[in-house]
């Protein structure tokens, strides 16, 4: 029965995250971008909201609630939202698809009070890369897999305890859990990126890495890798919804205050209509994200919904950020306002397919 009603718990999560994002994250967004690093104190605060820890407990797992939380975080700072979503992607995959032993061994490290990063490593450093065409290969060798390949744009790679590496094995995509200190794993220095700079996105190389078969996600049963990609698409759509909302809420007071040729900018139909379009897109992005997250939570087929939510959000966030910047004119191009940062983040997040989860 179709309903858009949040549970009481979800309303609490929403308002708690909104307050946290507004009070703690938003004031730091420029500094983080300038520093191109996330400070550990802020990560600890973010961790203290408990969003990741809840996923490590079977009864606390809820992609819908996560999507709601990620929108709130994304409205303040998409980079920090993605820092959490990246770890959520790893934890969610273990919680949903890990064997009992894998869940038992790995999840407690993410249920504690101290921040712990981990990431799903999907993207590869080549133009024209596609999630359906993996170059990274895992070949079975007795009780082990031998993993070779390069993974790109891994969030906070140097801080991750584990990577969930998506690689091709026997012609199909498979997921291997690789502790970062495994011999053959090397993490490159971040080269710097257009946007989401504080994530320290970096390349990770796996060279003849021996991964025990027991560390294959789901062990003998294997894993549904598509579900991990679906979850990533939903998480990114949720953050883009927040980012779009943040831009909308920032430009509205600006265009009302700014007088151009005798009247507020907001009273020019083109500007007013564009703001209406931005608002509609944000709303639509949210409902699409919820619908896909709901399907994931209910273990319904989700690939199509996740793709549509991600595609729409990725397309419209550029429209929103582009027009948001344009409304500020020259000021939009300067670092005196956060819109240029959001513009960079919008382009970055909409192509970062795979580096997140709900």
């Amino acid at each position: 029965m179709i309903s858009y009603e949040l549970t009481e718990e979800q309303q609490i999560v929403q308002s708690t995250m909104a307050e946290f994002a507004r009070e703690e994250l938003f004031p730091q967004t420029r500094r983080l971008d300038d520093d191109a690093a996330i400070d550990t104190e802020l990560l600890a605060k973010l961790w203290s909201t408990g969003i990741v820890q809840m996923q490590a407990e079977a009864e606390g797992r809820s992609p819908v609630t996560n999507a709601i939380a990620l929108e709130e975080l994304g409205a303040a700072d998409a980079t920090l939202a993605l820092a959490i979503a990246s770890t959520l992607g790893f934890v969610g995959a273990i919680a949903d698809q890990g064997s009992a032993r894998q869940r038992e061994e790995l999840l407690p490290a993410f249920a504690g009070d101290a921040f712990q990063a981990a990431a799903v490593a999907v993207l590869e450093p080549s133009f024209g890369f596609d999630v359906s065409r993996l170059s990274a290969k895992a070949s079975r060798d007795g009780d082990n897999y031998i993993l070779n390949g390069r993974k790109a744009m891994v969030p906070m790679a140097s801080q991750c305890s584990h990577f969930l590496v998506i690689a091709e094995s026997d012609g199909v995509a498979d997921a291997l859990i690789v502790p970062r200190d495994t011999p053959g794993v090397s993490i490159a220095e971040p080269k710097g990126t257009l946007g989401l700079r504080a994530l320290e996105l970096a390349e990770v190389t796996f060279e003849n890495v021996t991964v025990p078969a027991a560390m294959r996600l789901g062990e003998d049963k294997g894993a549904d890798v598509q579900q991990i990609i679906d979850g990533a698409r939903i998480a990114l759509a949720a953050i883009m919804t927040g980012l779009g909302r943040g831009i909308r809420d920032y430009v509205i007071p600006y265009v009302k205050d700014r007088i151009v040729h005798g009247t507020p900018l907001a009273k020019k139909q083109f500007i007013a209509f564009t703001i209406a379009d931005i608002h509609m897109d944000v709303e639509a992005m949210r409902w699409m994200t919820w619908k896909a997250a709901w399907a994931l939570e209910e273990r319904q087929p989700v690939t199509q919904q996740a793709q549509l939510a991600f595609t729409y959000a990725g397309q419209q966030i550029i429209f929103i950020a582009d027009h948001g910047l344009q409304m500020l004119g020259g000021h939009g191009f300067t670092k005196g306002h956060p819109v240029e940062l959001w513009y960079r983040n919008a382009r970055a997040i909409s192509v970062l397919e795979g580096a997140a989860g709900v």
């Binding site: 024209g128 907001a266 699409m288 919820w290 709901w294 595609t311 729409y312």
Partner: protein
């Protein structure tokens, strides 16, 4: 709890509507070639004879549904209506009489089949620009109507019209809007020829003029223009969902034809692995889904707040705007993908392209609704942002 599951009742009713529309599809081209609209006057169209009307099925459904408002829209999204297979169930004019009229007025006119006359040739969606007038004649206790109305649905059908006209200026110089019952046969009330149109040729759309038309004072329903918003608030998302139904048909047709040509959409792949056609289809499906989400949220809110609430007006404007955008972009995009073969009248795709173009015009074009949305967001009133 956030829930997007369809109930047994929803699915059943969507199937009833789908079956209805598939029956209509078998003669859709034939109907489309009739140059002027032929309103359905004497019951159901023979193509659906002996089957239950989808709206009757909705009213009678015993299994749980997502709600009358939500489920009605779900039903509308299943496919293009093709043409009117059933007489219009509840004309707007009759509804207005029964909602706003006094007991005496309801008794006199509530049983009649009355359409609704708003638009004027030079005042499409701007009521303030209307020039049709009502002048009171105290000697006869009558109102004298003058003016011209156009784009009136089903004017050839039924007993008459509830027409919106402007009264004489009050003490502040403002001219009130009146809803007036105007019956066919009244001297000076002339109905013109139906419009010939780009699409929805099955839909009767006409004009009428009023030259010194005299109606008894009791025909004036009062309560002005404002109350009509209620009806429009309820109906606009339904029309939006109907637009999605048209898009569903052309999308399904396009998916099918491109798959036959070896271009089948795979939602798992990323953008670098897709053909142009696949990518475009996914983007159009995404727009369809975006519009679906906005319409259903609007209707869900209507169910929560009640039809008379003003608490979902912005959502109504968004539903209509999104659907207008979606129907234009999707029908245009599908015909682009289908290529030259797509324009052939051998198929219905070109008909959907024509039919769907009205969605972003009637019941307020996207521009008018964007104005309403922007006023809400920016905190401006009418007069401050126009």
């Amino acid at each position: 709890m956030v829930d997007f599951s369809l109930t047994e009742g929803d699915l059943k009713l969507m199937e009833v509507m789908r079956a209805e529309r598939l029956r209509a599809r078998t003669i859709a081209r034939e109907i489309d070639r009739i140059p002027e609209s032929q309103p359905l006057t004497d019951g159901d169209h023979p193509i659906v004879a002996g089957t239950i009307a989808p709206y009757a099925a909705l009213a009678q459904e015993k299994a749980p549904i997502s709600g009358l408002a939500v489920t009605e829209c779900l039903m509308q999204t299943v496919g293009a209506p093709e043409f009117n297979t059933r007489p219009a169930p509840s004309p707007s004019g009759t509804w207005i009489v029964n909602e706003l009229g006094s007991e005496e007025q309801k008794k006199a006119y509530g049983h009649l089949w009355l359409v609704f006359g708003v638009s004027e040739p030079i005042a499409g969606s701007d009521p303030s620009a209307m020039i049709s007038t009502a002048k009171y004649d105290p000697e006869t206790d009558e109102y004298v109507l003058n003016g011209e109305k156009t784009f009136i649905s089903n004017i050839d059908l039924g007993d008459g019209v509830v027409v919106i006209v402007k009264g004489e200026p009050d003490a502040d110089g403002k001219r009130p809007f009146y809803n007036v019952v105007l019956l066919k046969g009244t001297p000076g009330f002339e109905i013109g020829q139906p419009w010939r149109k780009l699409g929805t040729r099955y839909h009767n759309l006409g004009s009428f003029s009023m030259v010194d038309v005299r109606v008894p004072a009791m025909n004036v329903l009062g309560n002005g223009f404002v109350n009509i918003q209620t009806r429009l608030n309820v109906n606009r998302p339904v029309q939006s969902a109907l637009g999605l139904g048209m898009c569903r048909s052309i999308l399904d047709f396009t998916h099918g034809k491109l798959a036959e040509a070896g271009d089948e959409v795979d939602y798992a792949k990323g953008r670098s692995s897709r053909s142009f056609a696949e990518d475009k289809l996914i983007r159009m499906e995404a727009l369809w889904e975006a519009t679906w989400g906005v319409i259903m949220q609007c209707k869900w809110l209507e169910q929560q707040l009640g039809q008379l609430s003003k608490g979902f007006q912005t959502q109504v404007a968004m539903a209509k705007t999104m659907s207008g955008k979606a129907t234009r972009q999707i029908t245009q995009g599908c015909l682009e993908l289908l290529g030259a073969e797509g324009i052939s009248e051998e198929y219905l795709a070109e008909k959907y392209f024509r039919d769907a173009r009205i969605i972003d015009i009637y019941e307020g074009p996207g521009e008018i609704h964007r104005l309403a949305i922007a006023r809400k967001l920016l905190g401006y009133r009418k007069g401050e942002l126009d």
